[in-house]
Amino acid sequence: MQSVLNQLNAVPGVVGSMVCDAEGALVSNCFPPLFDNAALASAARVLADGAAGLETVTGKVGMVDLRYGDARIVVKPMAGAHLVLLCAAQTNLQLLNISTSVALPKLEKLVAARPPPVVAAPPPAPASKKEKEKKAKEKAPPPPPGEDPGLFHW
């Protein structure tokens, strides 16, 4: 996947690219070291949260093109994932489209071939009420002699 992203980065104007899955996890990225993984992972989550909302008016989304003062973010949805490209503002979108249309099927295959995520072991079941009371009794120190046992001690 890294090599496909590297090829996309070779398109004039492309700064970096990444693939994130529908659950908001960062699958692979090819960004300069200046972009830390935490920011890229957050971007992946933003996309996963927002993707469904965008489809309410437009139907199935083919491309999202976001333009900023000096940059452009192009998002291409694919089967079970999103391809995100950070580009310079003047990047030729037609040229980029030619490259992404070649890269997308390859990335889709690679995303589909990924091993399923490891499911974490379920946390231990919470202790029952009786067990909790029993433990509390064991832990609580006995009241000083001659004092009302109903008082709390700090």
């Binding site: 920011a39 996309l47 965008l54 437009t58 976001l66 037609q94």
Partner: protein, 239 residues
């Protein structure tokens, strides 16, 4: 290699590509290291651009050649082009790289436009007042392919249009700008200035100003690019 005087028997490639300008074709040719000729025809005239290894080496239109001819061709309205691979010329009237030439072209064309605008207007032509937002919206809705257009505040409040369509559009635009701004902040790109979402049933175009959003909904069977160009033309005319 055959010259222009010796017609080539190879199949030529020709056509019209909606939303793809001549400058885009030049950049693609540069990327592909194309050698040959592009013959351009439009209502204004016809011209030829010769490429060698992706770089433009010669341009001609009418009696003009070189950079001036190239700038003239780039200024023409949309027309048809024909790619003729392996057609070459012995003339070499352009020494700049294609990238350099395109950059210079934007400057030269800007200067030409400015020169035209600076020309004294006819005496009877009164200065045109800027269009009101409702007039702009009416103009935008008349663009072929536009399903709806609405103006709204950045808080989602509707401006001059209380219809259900405008409310839906405002909500969608705010949502899109929110995603755009979040991504912009994460990538240190700032606030989103404009955006487009290309969908199967509709396309959504968003244009941001300091305090407002303009949202344009385009029918899914119409390419979003040319509609966006037309919207920008209307907006620049409204200023």
């Amino acid at each position: 290699m055959p010259s222009l005087n010796e017609p080539v028997k190879r199949a030529d490639t020709g056509g019209e590509i909606v939303g793809l300008g001549l400058s885009d074709v030049i950049q693609i040719n540069q990327h592909n290291r194309f050698s040959g000729c592009i013959a351009i025809e439009c209502a204004v005239g016809s011209g030829l651009l010769f490429f060698r290894d992706g770089e433009i080496i010669h341009a001609e239109q009418g009696k003009r050649t070189g950079e001036e001819a190239f700038y003239d061709i780039l200024e023409w309205p949309p027309g048809k082009f024909r790619l003729q691979p392996n057609v070459t010329t012995t003339r070499n009237t352009i020494q700049k790289t294609s990238q350099h030439l395109l950059l210079d072209a934007t400057r030269v064309l800007d200067e030409r436009r400015a020169g035209r605008q600076a020309a004294p207007p006819p005496a009877e032509a009164a200065p045109r007042p800027p269009l009101r937002s409702s007039e702009v919206l009416e103009k935008l809705r008349r663009i072929p392919g536009v399903a709806y257009a609405a103006l709204h505040g950045k808080d989602g409040s509707q401006v001059g249009d209380d219809s259900y369509e405008a409310e839906v559009l405002a909500g969608q635009a705010i949502f899109l700008s929110m995603i755009g701004n979040q991504l912009g902040a994460l990538f240190q790109a700032g606030s989103v200035l404009s955006a487009s979402v290309q969908g199967t049933t509709r396309h959504l175009l968003l244009f941001a100003t300091k305090s407002h959003f303009l949202s344009v909904l385009v029918n899914g069977d119409t390419p979003a690019g040319p509609v966006e160009t037309e919207v920008r033309r209307v907006l620049s005319g409204a200023r």
